[in-house]
Amino acid sequence: MHAIELDGVTKRWDATMAVDDVSFAVEAGSFVVLLGPSGCGKSTTLRMIAGLEEVTAGRVRINGGDMTDEPPARRNLSMVFQSYALFPHLNVRENIIFGLKVRRVESGERDARLRRVAELVGLDELLDRRPAQLSGGQRQRVALARAIIAENPICLMDEPLSNLDAKLRHAMRVEIRELQQRLGMTVIYVTHDQTEAMSMADRIILLRDGRIEQDGAPDELYSLPASTFVASLIGAPPMNLIDVADGADGAVIEGVGHVVTGGAGAGRRLGIRPEHIEISAGDGLPAALIASDYLGADTIVTARAGKQDVLVRVPGHRKVNNGETVRLSWPRESAHMFDAATGRRIGYADPPAAAIQSGPGADE
């Protein structure tokens, strides 16, 4: 039995198809991230699970029971809103226990739970403040506390960290993840930040225009992106996507003789992650270094081959003499091939014809 199961869920508003035939099932106790660019239907999906939005088609099951037409309160789940949705006239204590009061939990039990939760999220000192008297991070904690005090096994979060600064965001990320594991909650977490998704998720469901583009563990999305769309979203900086053309001995980059991979080139795109490319003096793709972006632990160097820019991650600090010519090389198992027209993955790139003669190894 799955904690949450979506079966062909669709949401349409007159002209817009916000969510289009989405199906997935979430294991109890897992942390699932809905990732995707703005407007791809993440919030709508989450709101349909919560029951705040009616589905146009499809079924929503929670703990095995069909909840498609049940009101939100009957679904036994909590939600953290992007804007926190704290009641401005109630103090922190009243905000947290709002739901317990609605459900008439008796006051001894209520106070005990409040004490436990307030300590858990570090709010014990602030219970008498109003939301307006709190910092963004503290408000975030109140929203979180209100969600967990209900002791619902499922918690939905809609970009809960988007209003925080980078440092606080990192701290809260760790806290939420730790809390989820400690309490064994099932969390569906919406974000458009791939770093957040990669670092927190047991599993990422990547949405594009209301459809699931890829569904898998973070390292699966990283190492086997199903399309150029996934490849360009996961990783910082994301995968290089290089247009290739037909050459005499295999695919080449327009204007550069060097064979980058075996097989046909036209109609395909080569994907290589910046961290898998090495700058070497000997063999490889000739390129000119044109810029560098120093990040501290490493440097992102921009190299130009033909008309295409290729990002390379180099450890440490690397100065670039403009126009300095180098050779770029990469292990052949880290080169990916995509169909240029559909963007779908074809497989790992074929090795250059000279090296191996075997055919393309499609893995999907």
Binding site: L77, S83, P88, V102, A132
Partner: protein
């Protein structure tokens, strides 16, 4: 130099305010300490004599009592109805725009026109109200001619006229509440009434205060309907303070006493407004 500019910019507004608000107020206060002058006898300073006369004036007390009843009848009812209508038309409702407009219509009609409409309702025998009563076999009644019912007729009319206006303020305030709050409430299982009582109503407090002050002032200010419907009668049973002031000044031509009554009205309004502000202020500031 900049100061000169500042003052120049202020001047037009200041002139209007002084000429039409501050000066008349002070002049009224001044007049209330003088006797009514005639051709033979110029006005003379009489100190508090006008005020002592007022305290002995039976009609004054009757009018004050009427006005208190009128305020007590119109203010809570019009606010409650306004709030109810606002919550109602704020929801998902077919023909919502039409409903909003219908509720707002009484507000844009001039009071004189409204009074004429209601005159037709209240007319004995042929009026709408009497025709309605006849359906239930009840006898005809002269609603506006009976001292026991006339004031309540005026009250009902005022509620009908004001509720739509106040609804607009409540509606604006309701629309400015973030929808996530309601969603959060729904997730926690809060029913509509519970949510209204614990969240919506407290969050509407600033608007309620604003509306309350306006309603209070209106209950002293809005007397146009008396000119059409009752002229304050019968036997002053429907006369209100401001209408009485009008009568004293322009029918009895006693400007000095009218000034005295006006000072009493202004003082009452000021005290009520300040009182409401301070009492309510404590309870509505959550930011």
């Amino acid at each position: 130099m900049r100061q000169v500019y500042g003052w120049l910019l202020l001047t037009p507004a200041a002139i209007l305010l002084i000429a039409f608000t501050h000066y008349p107020t002070v002049a009224t206060l001044w007049h209330s300490f003088f006797s009514q002058g005639t051709a033979m006898r110029p006005a003379a300073y009489v100190g508090l004599e006008n005020y002592l006369y007022m305290l002995d004036d039976e009609i004054f007390w009757k009018v004050v009592r009427n006005n208190a009843l009128y305020a007590a009848g119109t203010i809570p009812a019009s606010i409650a109805i306004a709030l109810l209508m606002a919550v109602w038309v704020n929801g998902k409702l077919p023909l919502r725009g039409l409903a909003r407009m219908a509720y707002f219509t009484p507000t844009i009609l001039p009071m004189i026109a409204v009074a004429n409409i209601w005159l037709f309702f209240y007319t004995p025998e042929i009026g709408l109200l009497d025709q309605f009563m006849r359906l239930f076999g009840l006898p005809s009644h002269n609603w506006l001619g009976d001292p026991d019912t006339v004031l309540w007729c005026i009250v009902v009319l005022a509620i009908w006229k004001e509720a739509g206006f106040f609804m607009i303020f409540f509606l604006a305030a309701l629309q400015s509440l973030p929808p996530e709050l309601e969603e959060a409430g729904r997730l926690e299982g809060a029913g509509r009434w519970y949510y209204f009582r614990r969240v919506t109503f407290p969050l509407l407090m600033p608007t309620t205060l604003f509306v309350l002050i306006n309603a209070t002032i209106n209950s002293f200010k809005l007397v146009d309907q008396l000119f059409i419907l009752t002229k304050g009668g019968p036997d002053n049973a429907s006369s209100l303070l401001l209408y009485y002031i009008y009568e004293v000044a322009f029918s009895f031509l006693d400007e000095a006493y009218a000034a005295t009554l006006t000072v009493a009205l202004l003082a009452t309004l000021a005290i009520i407004a300040i009182g409401q502000f301070f009492i309510m202020d404590k309870r509505i500031h959550y930011r």
